[in-house]
Subunit: 298 residues, 2 copies
Amino acid sequence: MKRRVAVIDATWESDPGRHRQVLEAALREAQTQGAELALLPELIFLPYFCQSPSREPFAWAEALEGPSVTLLARWAKTFGLVIVTSIFERRTAGVYHNTAVVLERNGSLAGIYRKMHIPEDPGYFEKYYFTPGDLGFVPIDTSVGRLGVLICWDQWFPEAARLMVLAGAQLLLYPTAIGWNPDDPQPTWDQELEAWLTIQRAHAIANGCPVLTANRMGFEADPSGQTPGIRFWGHGFVAGAMGEYLLPPQSDSVGIRVADVDDRATERIRQIWPFLRDRRIDAYPKLLTRAWDPDPKK
Amino acid sequence: MKRRVAVIDATWESDPGRHRQVLEAALREAQTQGAELALLPELIFLPYFCQSPSREPFAWAEALEGPSVTLLARWAKTFGLVIVTSIFERRTAGVYHNTAVVLERNGSLAGIYRKMHIPEDPGYFEKYYFTPGDLGFVPIDTSVGRLGVLICWDQWFPEAARLMVLAGAQLLLYPTAIGWNPDDPQPTWDQELEAWLTIQRAHAIANGCPVLTANRMGFEADPSGQTPGIRFWGHGFVAGAMGEYLLPPQSDSVGIRVADVDDRATERIRQIWPFLRDRRIDAYPKLLTRAWDPDPKK
């Protein structure tokens, strides 16, 4: 059936009250436009603190029963929306995760996903902050379908998308925080953005499964001053089961946009291009290796 | 180092002598333009006979020591080119493969790859003709590097590209025969072509590895008259290690085009986007399954 979904690219507002106001208004608008699901960017209630390694941000981590999930639950119930985003989860002392949370429309917690692939680059010190997820690639059942929720860096890994779909995901969702190095030239910006759009659309194509992405927007300075900061690039989008844009990416859209996703398209496309039928599962064992050396000559 | 590669989209010419002349001229031009490697489409010496199931085409299958490889070897030596394409291999009575052959510049056979993922659709009855490959995803060492040669339908499977790269492939190559249903409307044509370009560029991105594709061109009728035939769509291209076009796809280019591929880009891109470092090989075992049912609730 057709379901209306909302993608909300969001800029970090340093005033927490103002930040919540903006998000709440976007969710209200999503409801007004008839959406049943809203996707927000990664780590929605925090600045992107991973730009430098520092002990201070650990104080912002919270339990799944903490104020972030409580607020999201209230919004989900108020606006009748399934809401997807990620929080900085404190699981126990010394174990912190980047955790996607999925709130059901009645305000209950439908499920969580702990980010499995953790980046570590200048400006993205996530291996310092986040313990790798240990829940695997398990979709979350909701009133709008079985959701394959992944987070940001996961979007570069075809394995993650495939595993979610093999487990029955009907939508792939990527709450994301990715941007440009302000010092890089425009051609690099263009190439990075294009690669990011391309690989996510390819997950839709390879799996015959729609993809939703919401990204942060705007500039955030590096508190350490060691890097030039990050210009988050927005460009959230919705792709259909052939990778076609149902909602094209835009750089300057603040707030919320909606698209209609029809899960009958998945059935149809997978009959036209039955890739799942033809996977050579007998010949994939080496996907479980880091790298291997074949015989140089057969 | 930089290597010049040639992509040759080719139209099937029903006159065998004329067909060979056209191909030979294209390879000579590749040499003139300084190429070291030439990629030709799938099943280069035959019409695309898989449009309908019939016993007759089995008579065209031949051994690896047969006339097709012999001719390719002569061309490889004459023009000093590594040549990649596929043939209809008769391995033994009742076992026929769609087999990629890689000819070294001295005319020797550097290696083969037997198509692993076999399609079966109206107009593409390949499961009828081709026994699935049993050599796995093993790259072939040549004087121009370690080549990850795959064939057509393989291009829709991220697993195939990944396995070739984990085994050290420095280039991914897709000899291909794909086209439009003449009865489909233009938007379907556009969407299919765009999906095909997108997923192959995504293999470059996911793996930090350049991709070369050469496709058939022109219309070929279905000898059985049961389908409207296939309009092969050309659009061969070369993508760099970030998925950027080094040689953009073109619909109307007959013959040969060249691009320069620099393998130092792979090293650099994989340092910027170190996806291979971060694969969760501990969490991928279910990639070896057809489909699975997770616990509906954790």
